[in-house]
Symmetry: C2
Subunit: 571 residues, 2 copies
Amino acid sequence: MRWSQAFIPTLRDDPAEAEAASHRLLVRAGYIRQLMAGAYSLLPLAHRVRAKIRRIIEEEMDAIGGQQFLLPALHPAELWRRSGRYQMVGEELFRFHDRRGSELVLGMTHEENMTSIAAAELTSYRQLPQIWYQIQTKFRDEPRPKSGLLRVREFTMKDSYSFDVDPAGLDRSFALHDAAYRAIFRRMGLDAVPVAASSGAMGGKDSTEFMVRAAAGEDHVVHCAACGYAANVERATSQVAAVDDADPPPTPERFATPGIRTIEALAGFPGGAPADRQIKTLVYVLDGTPTLLLLRGDHPLQDQKLKDGTGAIDLRPAAADEIRHLLGADPGSLGAVGVDGIRIVADRALQGRANLTTGANEDDVHVRGVDIDRDIRVDEWLDLRQVTTGEPCIRCGAPLEVFTAIEVGHIFKLGTRYSEAFDAYVLDDEGNRQIVQMGCYGIGLERNLAAVIEASHDEKGIVWPVAVAPYEVVITVVKLDDAATAEAAERLYAELEAAGVEILLDDRDERPGVKFNDAELIGIPYRITVGPRGIAAGEVELTERAGGATEVIPLSEAVTHVAELVAAART
Amino acid sequence: MRWSQAFIPTLRDDPAEAEAASHRLLVRAGYIRQLMAGAYSLLPLAHRVRAKIRRIIEEEMDAIGGQQFLLPALHPAELWRRSGRYQMVGEELFRFHDRRGSELVLGMTHEENMTSIAAAELTSYRQLPQIWYQIQTKFRDEPRPKSGLLRVREFTMKDSYSFDVDPAGLDRSFALHDAAYRAIFRRMGLDAVPVAASSGAMGGKDSTEFMVRAAAGEDHVVHCAACGYAANVERATSQVAAVDDADPPPTPERFATPGIRTIEALAGFPGGAPADRQIKTLVYVLDGTPTLLLLRGDHPLQDQKLKDGTGAIDLRPAAADEIRHLLGADPGSLGAVGVDGIRIVADRALQGRANLTTGANEDDVHVRGVDIDRDIRVDEWLDLRQVTTGEPCIRCGAPLEVFTAIEVGHIFKLGTRYSEAFDAYVLDDEGNRQIVQMGCYGIGLERNLAAVIEASHDEKGIVWPVAVAPYEVVITVVKLDDAATAEAAERLYAELEAAGVEILLDDRDERPGVKFNDAELIGIPYRITVGPRGIAAGEVELTERAGGATEVIPLSEAVTHVAELVAAART
């Protein structure tokens, strides 16, 4: 492609609204333009990168026996009612009516559609295993679309679904996907860490997320450098150092705490207690039911753990008036001692603890000497607390690190969550009806594109790995009006194209500095600089974008040398 | 691919609901399944065909300098208000609100989105011409989705947009697309006839549709076998043989026509007139304005011509009570003689006519001796009549044929319809502001897939051209449990795959008859039959799906021979 004819609208300055590096660079380097919040037009350079990512995904999915489908984005709402997700998923699901008054939704994922096909068409174990995938547009009405392509309302996903006759088959299909995903990320140049994750609204049991460390990431990964333990903070656990509780008094003891409203204040209050010997009492409304949540004073609540542990769909902190109505006090003096008739859920770190301090459900009064087994009627013990940096690893005890990351892929063992809803059964080799075991597996194409940039850029612009670069080589012509230079550049362009190299010829009537800057900004892996002095000496310059190393090579060897370099870097 | 592992759910019988051949075969041969009215899941075989069609389109678009984009399907309603299409397009446009209450629509096409990018980013004639395209999902809430993939509510379209500095540039971009489209259809094996067409809601002046003759088609093409004239019936014209009107009387003459309500009845009524000497009077409401439409008695009204000619957006026949209120009579005795204060639009075939008969706006009374110039106050002369079979060609006078066809592509000269709405201007080489000249160009991928089947099938199933076949060759193993046969088939499979042939190995434990029928049903161009008798003699059978010719070839030459055959047939 000739740059003079290409549509690459680079900008001189960073866009004002962009914070994430990928967002800033994608706009500035002319890859994307925003249409509205959470919806971007991909311009030609972005399309080329996306096409390469798509191809890598297709190759790896085909290699594990995946068969490609294409399913509709428009679904009848009825399909989502059948799985129960119509009710479970909130405002993220776009819902509307067609001209005949039927309710439709825009697919966020396609478990329902795929499972209904499987239920109708698969009847025998002989037809299994099957791995079905598609690369298709998903819609999610995100509450806060942000960071360019990292969190949008419309995006392309490779979603696949595995169907097996038994759990061992599911394990194999899951392992195949795990390996394929690792290959995909490796080929894109992404260092993606597999971590244990919450399955969230998708349902099912085990799931693994692939995480790329990045400042712009919205996920938090808990990681142990010593033993390799890694989990999403939504699911991570850690060891809790034992706290030496003195024996509690025979009954809890109320005491006045004028003006004391926080864990920290009570820790500093005479007669109070350190945070790890307090009980923090939160009031949430879970699917309409007010619930007390108890955690150790210094342990934060992890919302997703609360969702996963209770199975609640609709979940919110109670309002101040609801709390007063329920417990007779304001937040700051709440507690569960003696409370009856309200559901109480406690974090496991409190199990067996005694001699604790908590609110007395009377403003400016607390209770100490609380033995949790003796004094509080806990309905359910769950893992509710969020792991924080420095806590001991659950496996090896070394201090944990928490870092922000981008989720670039997520694979789930769904089990029978959807096959039950859609009656997907097959006959096994003994003629018995077996429910189909399912997995589902997703990669967002545009998010991966952005993640590569987050992981690979510098102050000058994007630094594409060759495998996903929009063009592999740019030829920068330094003096267009020098006939020998122009001719040499044209010949190189034609010969490199004939050699199968994807090449951009910068034939614009611009100053060399502008051309160099643009080539670096858009991130082309190799630049061949063709100028009059070099041509006179029979030489061109070859510069690698990553690192910036430049070598002078004979013009006569340029095509072979560059074609070999590029071919070697493609895989 | 091994058939035993492939998901190809063929059916023993034709689906009950399918009328069009492509619909019937796509369902029966396991290519598609319906999700709801107008929405189909493409199963793996269909996806493979679609991927090849996509690739052909991409190659031809790239060859004319097209640059690929990917734009969102979700649009802010505001974008469509700006072009005026929000108001113009009716219920076909899916409209709804997001969680923040903003109105969104699902894109039917992308003139608005593309033009807004062009307006923001193109500033100089030096950046032109540009051809931008995408291959993307479109949504249209069709009133009557039908015929499988031929008329759906969600489909993939290649839509492209050209931007030029002047009308001559637009002509060039249009000609490039015309040539690319011809190449695309030729490569898919489609005999697509370019015809002059109405631009409809798209706006702009000239447009060409590419039409494939098919019984299942919903379009009607007027064609002259003698000179090649071809046009959509929505736009076609023909010669009108002169009618010898006698001189009219000095004033029109009313006469009683008891019980006469139709053109035919009046033609047979004593004192009446042949249909070609009558005026047919229709009453329509155009954007709220009642309008009389006058046509020659034997000429049908063409609705799209009425829309195009008047520019009306909302158009319907008047109701009986509206007509009586307006003219004082019921349909059957309507006329325009002496009518004042109501808009009158007449078909050009009536121009200059005299001594005609029409209704008197009094039940059971007509008027004869009408001189249209003298007696009727026509506000506007338009081409309103629909051409019918046998009329003389507008160019050469030979009799015209009208046939049903599938529209497989449509290219439009938009001119400045959208660039005006979005302020898309560039500076020309003299520094003057020039409005950008636009064209737009569309091909529906799944409709083309279905059109190939409509054009190429027989009583046994689909007959794919090699260029778009899901697999190029099927190896049918006749006796799986014969070791030499199985081994030879496996070797052929491996070697043909290595030779780059797309191959399906029918290794299912089924009777040969079932395998032959399935291979023919799904339409694989070449079948290699491997059986014990042949293998013993060192031979296999090669059968061509189109025509069914079978030849016996030496096993040792099979790979080379088949690979050459296939390679030659690909283009």
